[in-house]
């Protein structure tokens, strides 16, 4: 039963671009959904399983994007996998430095330090010469290694592949020694240590896996949009969105981040493009010229962050285990 459901989901995901055809707008939204699902799943390995909330995952995402685009603007004949690997290495170094210092401490220090590290990375990139500073980096090539960068389908499948890899790692971890150890750390660190779990080692392991996956997604995203600056890939807002997606979908569950992304990304897009206002007008519920109509048109497009916030508050109040928590029987 479960296998059939999975096969249907997989087949739908693979065939989707064919159905959508040449509608770059819809494909673009789907790419965002896949990317956010994968980002949130990667975060979930550290935040959901091990209970170590990172508020600075944008640092690893941005590291991947910047490493890849900097290398390619220097030499556009480089292999894409090589560029990704370099991104992973830089992200891993940042992760290891952060983890080896902060994971010795108990409490919320990791959360605080993750914000600090992300800000250090952002400000460094903003002020360094070779990163393009505030101007950002533009990749002018439209075709690399035989791939047409203007076409969105390769990136759709690229994101889908990384999502599948992330979910597979997630599933493998959940049923392995490492996964049990991470969950034990989340539940009670003293109990975990007394049962022979090296706390710092396993937290670092989770951070490293999470950071590496996030960096890969950053590399892919950089190639996809070909122009990055700090506000696009290193912003605190991105880190927060990754966390909210996991919380609303269901922290610590394998499919929670996917559900969260499927809900939130299209919702944000609808608000941003004022689709919601249009629907209300077309349905005849609100007149376009009335006060409410004008208000919706002018303000709703800027309100997607507010709506995120409201959904999060409602989720924490009524669905503390996320949407997936609804379907989980209480034992």
């Amino acid at each position: 039963m479960k296998k059939i459901a999975l096969s249907v989901i997989a087949a739908t995901a693979v065939a989707l671009p064919i159905f959508i055809g040449e509608n770059p707008y819809l494909i673009g939204i789907m790419i965002s959904v896949l990317m956010m699902a994968a980002l949130s799943s990667a975060w979930n390995i550290l935040g959901g399983y091990a209970g170590q909330y990172s508020f600075g995952h944008a640092a690893y995402f941005g590291t991947g994007a910047y490493s890849t685009l900097i290398l390619l603007t220097l030499n556009n004949s480089l292999n894409p996998l090589f560029c990704m690997a370099m991104g992973i290495i830089v992200a891993s170094i940042i992760a290891l430095i952060t983890g080896s210092i902060v994971f010795r401490l108990r409490g919320h220090y990791f959360g605080l330090a993750s914000i600090a590290v992300a800000e250090i990375v952002r400000l460094s990139v903003l002020n360094l010469e070779f990163t393009g500073g505030a101007q950002g980096i533009l990749l002018s090539d439209v075709s690399l290694w035989g791939i047409d960068l203007n076409s969105k389908n390769p990136f759709y499948y690229g994101m889908l592949l990384v999502l599948v890899v992330t979910l597979s790692i997630s599933q493998y971890l959940r049923t392995s020694k490492t996964g049990y150890y991470l969950q034990a750390i989340r539940e009670d660190q003293d109990a975990a240590a007394s049962l022979g779990i090296n706390l710092a080692f396993y937290k670092n392991k989770a951070l490293l896996i999470s950071a590496a996956l996030t960096s890969i997604l950053g590399s892919l995203y950089g190639l996809y949009i070909r122009f990055i600056d700090t506000s696009a890939v290193l912003d605190l807002r991105l880190s927060i969105e990754i966390i909210l997606t996991a919380i609303i979908g269901g922290v610590g569950t394998m499919w929670g981040p996917v559900v969260g992304a499927l809900l939130l990304v299209p919702l944000a897009e609808m608000l941003r493009s004022n689709l919601l206002g249009d629907v209300l007008v077309k349905a005849g519920l609100v007149s376009e010229t009335s006060g409410i109509g004008v208000f919706l048109k002018e303000n709703l497009a800027h309100a997607h962050v507010l709506v995120y916030g409201i959904i999060t508050v409602l989720c924490i109040l009524y669905l503390p285990k996320g949407i997936l928590g609804l379907f989980r029987r209480v034992k």
Binding site: Q183, A193, S194
Partner: protein, 242 residues
């Protein structure tokens, strides 16, 4: 020659100016059931924390199995074969009972399949097989204490430190736990046992150390301890008799 499995040598632990444990020494032999008793605040749990690597000792040494362990981390101490339970139970609340015990079992195996086999054996030993799929957080205190026991047993320890494993239990539950502890000793483990329940301690221990205000007050067999006038006055507060 007598083999000391655990040697506590002049151990002190200060918190700032506060002396929690002061120059305590004793030795635990292999396969003993060793009692550590004393009134509230005597330093029993602090001493446990020093032995198992949760607190660094201020001075003195802890020697386990001929290795100095007071500079090791808790997980390293566990890997050497010393496991502990907690006075205030620490179940991994959102995991199931079986998963809790599997976490313990992973210290001696790397595969999930083997960990599950070991965990099921231990659950059988403490009679928790009916609760395998229940979440650990939902158990009653008596069952949580049993779970703690199963979880540390799954690490296959040479020595078990039990911190008030009978605290908060009724007589029937206490008797069941004491039976389990006797069984553990038969299988070859050594046990150090913090307990308030004098009846439980005297009925099961081979040897007892009494702590009072961080200092060792007396050491001896259960009969010697129950007849020691210092112990009686420390425990019962002056001239009262139980």
């Amino acid at each position: 020659m007598i083999q000391h499995l655990l040697l506590i040598s002049h151990v002190s632990k200060h918190f700032g100016g506060n002396v929690a444990v002061s120059d305590v020494s004793f030795a635990v032999e292999e396969k003993q059931i060793f009692g550590l008793i004393g009134p509230n605040g005597a330093g029993k749990t602090t001493l446990f924390n020093c032995i198992t690597g949760f607190f660094p000792t201020t001075s003195g040494d802890v020697i386990f199995d001929n290795k100095k362990i007071n500079t090791l981390r808790p997980d390293e101490v566990c890997k050497l074969g010393m496991a502990r339970t907690w006075q205030r139970v620490k179940p991994l609340g959102s995991l199931t009972v079986l998963e809790n015990v599997m976490v313990g079992a992973f210290s001696i195996t790397n595969t999930t399949r083997e960990a599950e086999i070991i965990a099921r054996e231990q659950l059988q030993m403490v009679e928790l097989t009916d609760y395998t799929t229940k979440s650990a957080g939902s158990l009653s205190i008596g069952l949580k204490k049993k779970l703690e026991l199963a979880r540390v047993l799954a690490t296959r320890p040479k020595m078990l430190l039990l911190d008030e494993i009978c605290g908060g239990l009724n007589h029937t539950e206490t008797d069941i736990i004491l039976d389990i502890i006797r069984n553990i000793r038969i299988k070859g483990a050594t046990i150090v046992f913090i307990e308030h329940d004098m009846k439980a301690v005297t009925s099961i221990c081979d040897r007892i150390v009494v702590l009072n205000s961080g200092e060792k007050l007396a050491e001896g067999t259960p009969e010697e301890i129950t007849n020691n006038s210092d112990v009686i006055s420390a425990y019962l507060g002056g001239g009262h008799h139980a």
